[in-house]
Amino acid sequence: MKEIVIISGKGGTGKTSLAAAFAYLGGTDIVTADCDVDAADLHLLLQPEVKKAEDFYSGQLARIDQDLCNQCGCCEEVCRFDAVKFLNGKYSIDTLGCEGCGYCSHVCPVGAIPMEENNVGEWYISTTKVGSTMVHARLGIGAENSGKLVTKVKNEAKKIAEEKDLDFVLVDGSPGVGCPVVSSLSGADFVILVTEPTVSGLHDLIRVHQLVNKFKIRVGCIINKADLNLKVTSEIKDFLTQEKIVHIGDLPYNDIFTNAMVNGQTIIEYDQNGLSAIINVSWKKIKKLQQGDN
């Protein structure tokens, strides 16, 4: 079983639309994991039916028991996150500010601050419209530890793929270079970078590639909207050659991405012609690259 992760650094490059198209092509041979838990959109195209939902707890939050609190204020003094507030003669915890470090709980002389498990979201096992399994999640507003939820989603997807003896887990990864992406990448066999020929696209590609390099994973790249700026596209290609990144394919600047989305469809369903053909070839290439190192 191979784990293929799609990331982009920058948002809006068409990463999720491509992930959905690949998931559609992969059919029941793959398990899909939506690890973009912060802005999970893959379900809008794969229309999964939820089979199992579970709360996800991660980290802790402090709570002040008003019956025990003797107003000494020790907690406020030690909290480095300004999460202990003194309002209307009472100490309380600002739950959006609390990082759950537990320092206040440790120093409270009367034991008035229990640390409670924090419900940060929900995760689901579902069946997509092509009949494949999809694992996805919803992160609570302002929640911490999205990296841990990403790991959870990924591990569940891997478990299912192993049980069913399937070839691939396809992961729609998170944006940026911080903790959620790091969790998306760890353990992956292949990374697909989706980029666009804009100065921001190139800038973010270089940054996210620096991160991928730390993991020593093999990398391929798809350039979306390749005809938007030919100069930047050729700069991207130079970068790919220089870094020995496999150039998987180019897609044109096209409203079909949006039109398919409006219809709740993957590109493959919506457009049977040009774009679908390119994506088909790309998917075959990606699968072939996985066989190489067996």
């Binding site: 650094g9 802005a39 030690v78 480095r80 959006l96 999205s146 903790c179 600047y253």
Partner: protein, 287 residues
């Protein structure tokens, strides 16, 4: 006045709006533009200017000085498994540390003093009346929040609150964006009129309401997609401040790192609409 520009989904035009709005305002008045999307800071690609100041930014982490009784309390108090007591060693995993100081201050032997570790770099540029500040997270550092909060601190120490300060925020609805928007006066949510845009807008609105902030929506790439976003805003009584048209020529300007309003009058008009809504905000405050 502090204004954050945010969006649930990345790539909706947050940076385009932030850079165009700030540069346009700076044709007349002093403005500060701050890029708080420290994981992927892109505003700087659209702004040229002279460097006023550059500095490394640090987070505090405990460093073991080996002079201790190996009681193991540090490992016990750390809620993030960032301290390990292994045989005769204490190991600190700095990427996991949240700088809460618990291990350091509770250590009976004072063997874990907090020391600075580089997490990123802040740059401050000046171009005419526009001051631009960005911070960029070192690759490999996982936590954006401390760098965001230090950047905000730099802004508060160096610029008066009376001028307009625009914050380009990170995408999403989790801890980094909360840190970026929690202290501002007004939030502009940038979205696209597509199902993804609508879905992520709803999550962002939920977040902004939880923070109890005043806000309005700017629809980017207006004309593409469907009616979903407009209908939602109408039903929820959310002000739509402006609509930036969907146009390939705009995407091309953006791709080259150029400002859009300088080439398109209709975009400038949309910026004027946004600016007028700020004026109303200020009037609203003084009543």
């Amino acid at each position: 006045m502090d204004i954050a520009i945010a969006s649930g989904k990345g790539g909706t035009g947050k940076t385009t709006l932030a850079t165009n709005l700030a540069s346009y305002l700076a044709e007349k008045d002093k403005v500060v533009l701050v890029d708080l999307d420290v994981e992927e800071p892109n505003s700087g690609l659209f702004i040229n200017g002279e460097i006023v100041h550059e500095m490394d930014k640090f987070k505090m982490i405990p460093v073991w000085n080996k002079d201790c009784s190996l009681c193991g309390l540090c490992q016990e108090v750390c809620n993030y498994n960032a301290v390990l007591h292994l045989g005769v060693h204490i190991m600190v995993f700095s990427e996991l540390c949240h700088s809460c100081y618990a291990c350091s201050e509770l250590c009976p032997d004072s063997a874990l003093p907090m020391k600075p570790k580089k997490m990123g770099r802040l740059k401050h540029l000046q171009h005419g009346k526009l001051s631009f500040v960005e911070s960029r997270l070192e690759i490999g550092q996982e936590q954006a929040v401390p760098l965001i909060s230090q950047t905000k601190k730099y802004i508060n120490e160096n610029f008066y609150q009376e001028i307009i300060r625009i914050y380009d925020s990170p995408p999403g609805t989790s801890c980094p964006v909360i840190e970026a928007v929690k202290d501002v006066d007004y939030v502009i949510l940038v979205t696209e009129p597509t199902p993804f845009g609508l879905h992520d807008l709803k999550l962002t609105v939920e977040m902004i309401r939880k923070l109890d902030k005043r806000y309005g929506v700017v629809i980017n790439r207006f004309g593409i997609g469907d009616e979903g976003v407009s209908t939602y805003c109408r039903e929820e009584n959310i002000a739509v401040l402006a609509k930036i048209p969907n146009r390939r020529a705009i995407a091309e300007l953006y791709s080259r790192g150029e400002l859009v309003y300088k080439h398109f009058n209709d975009v400038k008009e949309q910026l004027d609409l946004i600016i007028r809504s700020f004026d109303q905000l200020v009037v609203g405050e003084s009543v």
